[in-house]
């Protein structure tokens, strides 16, 4: 399968635009990403900005009218999102539009959408350079409500508590959107400063879809952003040397308990054992045929779900499972036994083969979605050169050896356990 070629376009010599041409989709995705080192400074402000900026512009100062204006443009979607990648924070502004050729009349959505994107970022509603008090107040409240409602998603809440405690002295904890009290502390001055800092940071643009190169150049030409020369650190090498495993518990009146385990590993993207680690994680707890699933769900009926997730930039692995509160010790023992088996060299042959196939299947499938292509694009940008071809990366997975997988399992160190204990008995649910 041929992966799409990525072209670098520089319409005005300052801003790098990455264009991935494809006619697979009926939509076009485009955007602008600001990049800065991940830090606590202005983190909450940035989160507020992603919401403040995308709701209206000086040209359309009423939220309602801006919304209807976008809807009239065949549901052109303008959005913004913050995402940490290693020790880098990406603040992206995105436009997603219907490809004109599937609409009856000619509508020229692409240039219109890019112009709106530029306005959203550079022409917000301000008074003397500051965002309006009322707007700030409202966005703060909405963000606080969002943070509070995360409490209702028990598996998410449990994972958040694990991360908060495991990485309390490390930047990785900043992956959590924030503390309601920190939101309160934001002022219109700090917001203005954060906004100006964002505009001055290194930026890159992208387009994924079927668009003429000339149209891309024209649309991005007026963008006054600059792609800086900075080298960013997409790997997070921070760690804490813990002498004792943290074992934490919290009780809530819910039916199901959630068990979260956090492990550390030295193996990250770029490490010679990186692909082997992906295979290990797959065999351990990522798929239906994985050891954790087979042992804890199929063999012992102790869980409906148990997953392991590999944070490859951080050097960590997380296990999450929904269980009965009385199964805590049993499940911990079973997990420990499963890992010990790997470390002792006891690898299931079928699992090894199936996992490789599954990883390869996922890698190829990613190209069928715009989000998959977007991730490809980000990798390309980060590695500043043609990323290894899909075929090469598939070969790397295929050549992972059992010894390498065993080595990965030996490198895991259990760091923190968090147990969200549900104290409601079955009688409550008759």
């Amino acid at each position: 399968m041929k992966a799409n070629k990525i072209q670098l376009i520089k319409p005005n010599g300052q801003l790098d635009i990455y264009y991935m041409k494809t006619n697979k989709f009926k939509t076009i995705a485009a955007g602008l990403i600001f990049q800065t080192p991940l830090s606590e400074e202005y983190l909450v402000e940035r989160s507020l900005l992603t919401n403040l900026l995308t709701k209206r512009t000086k040209k359309h100062p009423s939220e309602k009218d801006f919304y209807l204006y976008l809807k009239d443009l065949y549901d052109t979607a303008i959005s913004s999102q913050m995402s940490p990648r290693g020790l880098v924070l990406n603040v992206g502004f995105f436009a997603n539009i219907i490809d004109d050729k599937f609409l009856g009349p000619k509508v020229d959505l692409f240039p219109k959408a890019l112009a709106i994107l530029n306005d959203v970022i550079t022409d917000p509603v301000t008074v003397d350079g500051f965002f309006e008090d009322e707007a700030i107040k409202q966005e703060k409240k909405l963000l606080i409500d969002d943070l509070k409602s995360m409490y209702n998603n028990k598996a998410l809440y449990a994972n958040m508590q694990l991360i908060k405690n495991m990485f309390k002295d490390e930047k990785y904890r900043l992956n959590l959107l924030g503390d309601p009290t920190l939101v309160e502390q934001v002022t219109k001055e700090s917001l203005k400063a954060a906004y100006e800092k964002m505009l001055a940071s290194s930026a890159i643009g992208f387009v994924i879809g079927d668009v003429d190169e000339e149209d891309i150049k024209k649309a991005f030409e007026p963008f006054g952003f600059v792609t800086g020369p900075e080298e960013f650190s997409y790997l997070d090498l921070e760690t804490t040397n813990r002498t004792e495993i943290q074992e934490l518990k919290e009780e809530q009146k819910i039916a199901q308990s959630t068990l979260c385990l956090g492990y550390r590993t030295d193996i990250r993207i770029g490490d010679p054992l990186y692909q082997a680690m992906r295979v290990f994680n797959g065999m351990f707890g990522k798929y239906f045929h994985s050891e954790l699933y087979k042992e804890i769900r199929e063999k012992h009926s102790l869980a409906y779900y148990i997953n392991s997730e590999y944070a490859s930039r951080k050097g960590a692995l997380f296990i999450t499972s929904g269980i009965n509160k009385d199964s805590y010790n049993k499940v911990l023992t079973l997990i420990s036994n499963v890992l010990a088996a790997f470390q002792a060299g006891d690898l299931d042959e079928e699992n090894f083969e199936l996992t490789k196939k599954a990883i390869i299947n996922n890698m190829i499938e990613a190209y069928d979605q715009q989000t998959g292509l977007y991730r490809e694009l980000l990798f390309f940008i980060e590695q500043k050169a043609e990323r290894k071809s899909l075929e090469e990366r598939i070969k790397e997975i295929e050549s992972v050896t059992k010894e390498e997988v065993i080595a990965c399992s030996k490198n895991l160190r259990l760091d923190t356990i968090f147990f969200l204990e549900g104290t409601n008995g079955d009688e409550e649910y008759a």
Partner: protein, 432 residues
Amino acid sequence: MLKKIASKKYKETIFSTTLPNGLRVYLMPKAGFAKTYGLFVTNYGSLDNEFIPLDGQEFKKVPAGIAHFLEHKVFELEGDKDASNLFAQLGADANAYTSFTETAYLFSTTSNVLEATKLLLDFVQNPHFTEESVEAEVGIIEQELKMYMDQPGSALMQGGLQMMYKENTIRNDIGGTLQSIKEITYQDLLTCYQTFYHPGNMIFVLVGNFDVDAALKTISENQAGKTFPPFKPIKRRYYLENNQVYQTFGEKQMEVIIPRTSVNLKIGYENLNALEIIKRDFLLQLVGDIYFSRGSDFYQQLKKDGIINNSFSFTSAVHELFGFLTLSCDTLQYEEFNKRIKEKLLQIRTTQIPKEDFERMKKVQLARMIRLMNSLEFWANIIHEAGFKDLSPFAIIQALEELQYEDLHLIQGFFVEKAIAVYQIMPQGDLT
């Protein structure tokens, strides 16, 4: 032989046929995609609790949650193996789900499409569960049910349905209850399987990167090699209701920080054909977009007054057997929310909806549909949903394209007081 349906506008082609055993097959090649999505689905879901079994004369009633339980068991193969493993060997990813109206088994793969197709047909048509394995599954399903029970969203939806409906089986949780799953017997499962998993009651869809002729050959030969009793349309019993709600208010306490409330509007049963129902489904969604999205003055006012936040949501569904519209939000101002939403809903009945609002939101719905067309899963879904109604998928898209402003009167009558029920999830103890 293969029938061809093409859309010049959307540049898509779908091939279909019905096999001698009754199985309807749809094949949709998608150029440029690496993956293929296969779906084998039965017209049997959690609503279908009372029916005349294949070999019976009388109506039989089964415990709630059985369709979902059966879905778990169908994955089981001879000798304690699991079908997902066999798919994994082909490099494919398999899964299944049960809804109110159907049970679906699916795979997604970038290689071995024909083998995966055969496997999907074979494992669904050849279940191997035993009395012991049925008992063992109870523990797993218990955990699954508990996971959903702790989710305020699920509890809110189920509570809302239970307020609106008195006897319609939609009030049962799709997975059943901790009690009802213990009442499911091996024999019950077998009866349900034999009745509803007959090819005449099922559809097979393939979307993506494959050769149409090769796929047809594989599927036809596979089915020709099996024997099924002659298919008779299945007699099902439903308790269809008018739009009078069963209870106007209900609530429950859960481990949440902020109360979550929902205002639900019940849509009563009307004897209409499939396209008429689909039309009403689109229209209701459209009206929701006009009044309850960020483009409405009503929404903006609610936000300004601190009554709603980002958790505010609107959902609606109009189906042959049920229909509802729900507005919900996590908010401390739940009483005011309930009051204002109710007032607004009743207003919609007599409002002269501006034509430009209609035209705009119609464009939006079309755009949404085009966006979804990027996904193979979307096509598999719309194809089989249309198939179960004896429609072509393009007919559904066309129904949307052909909506007229005058059609709004078809649904404005839905918005009456007796159809409204409120359901809330409240935090434990007192609100601080």
